[in-house]
């Protein structure tokens, strides 16, 4: 399964992404009205909520792909490559979620950070997958690395609900009528809802586009590594043959 997408498919996806992002900009920044409680700051929600959604989607894909890799019947290198690509995008968008949330929180709550359940869970999630990415960078034979990373991805995934519940219990026990009430996003209505929807749609296309690009890059880089390995082995062979009476060279290890 070398080709994830056809050339035409990528172009169409790219086009859809650009168009939907343009629609988002228009709706989010210009057409939609300011919220009657949050004012213009609500416009950050049109990015923050989609970014959060994309990161959950991305991690879900990583986990699913990792599981598919580990299950013997569906094992294929492509799943591990996909898992890695999706996780990188996920971390990018989790970081963005946190940053945008902070920028939203400053005008609306007057603080850069709050120890609210969802915010804290998101922060833990960020570090969880940052660690996964660090693990991916450790060089190893691809089957070894794939298995190690797939297991790590599932072990991390299993932690997510536990983190979520524990943090939520923690924060609801300590609520004590703070300003940060649990309804972060009271029902959004009218053209604000359309702006939010356009954000979710645009970011979904963006995710798919980035995933395809990143996945393709990963395949190319794996091929480059393979080439370099072949070249190194060929060099060794040439050296050995050039020396008279040299012992036989070992066969290439696949």
């Amino acid at each position: 399964m070398q080709k994830f997408w056809t050339r035409r498919g990528t172009a169409v996806l790219g086009g859809l992404t650009v168009v939907s992002l343009a629609v988002l900009v228009v709706l989010g920044l210009f057409v939609s009205d300011p919220d009657f409680q949050q004012g213009d700051a609500v416009r950050l929600m049109y990015l923050h909520v989609p970014a959060a959604w994309i990161s959950y989607l991305a991690y879900g894909v990583t986990s699913l792909a990792s599981a598919l890799y580990l299950w013997k019947r569906t094992r294929a290198q492509v799943w591990d490559t996909l898992a890695g690509a999706s996780a990188e995008i996920g971390v990018l968008f989790t970081g963005l979620t946190l940053a945008l949330g902070s920028l939203w929180g400053r005008p609306v709550w007057n603080v850069w950070w709050a120890w609210d359940a969802r915010i804290v869970s998101t922060a833990v999630l960020f570090f969880l997958y940052l660690g996964y990415l660090a693990l991916r960078k450790v060089p190893a034979e691809s089957a070894v690395r794939a298995r190690r990373c797939s297991i790590a991805a599932l072990v991390a995934f299993v932690d997510v609900p536990v983190v979520h519940f524990s943090v939520e219990w923690w924060r609801t026990l300590h609520q004590k009528g703070t300003v940060f009430n649990r309804e972060l996003n009271p029902s959004i209505q009218g053209n604000l809802a359309w702006a939010l929807l356009s954000g979710v749609v645009a970011f979904t296309f963006l995710y798919l586009y980035l995933l395809e690009r990143r996945y393709r890059l990963a395949l190319l880089e794996e091929a480059v590594e393979g080439r370099e390995l072949d070249a190194a082995i060929a060099e060794r062979r040439a050296e050995a043959e050039a020396v008279p009476g040299a012992r036989g060279v070992p066969e290439r290890v696949v």
């Binding site: 416009r43 945008l100 393709r216």
Partner: protein, 45 residues
Amino acid sequence: MTDAGYVIGGWALTGVVIAGYVGRVWSRTRRARRLLGPDEQGRRP
């Protein structure tokens, strides 16, 4: 800073981050293609 400042800052940040990531993936892709040479499959526009 007014609300507008935060909004613009946030949207600008998002734009920069996404563009930056796309750029990075794109330049690494080009580099990988160059290293592989024209015979390798997977050529993309």
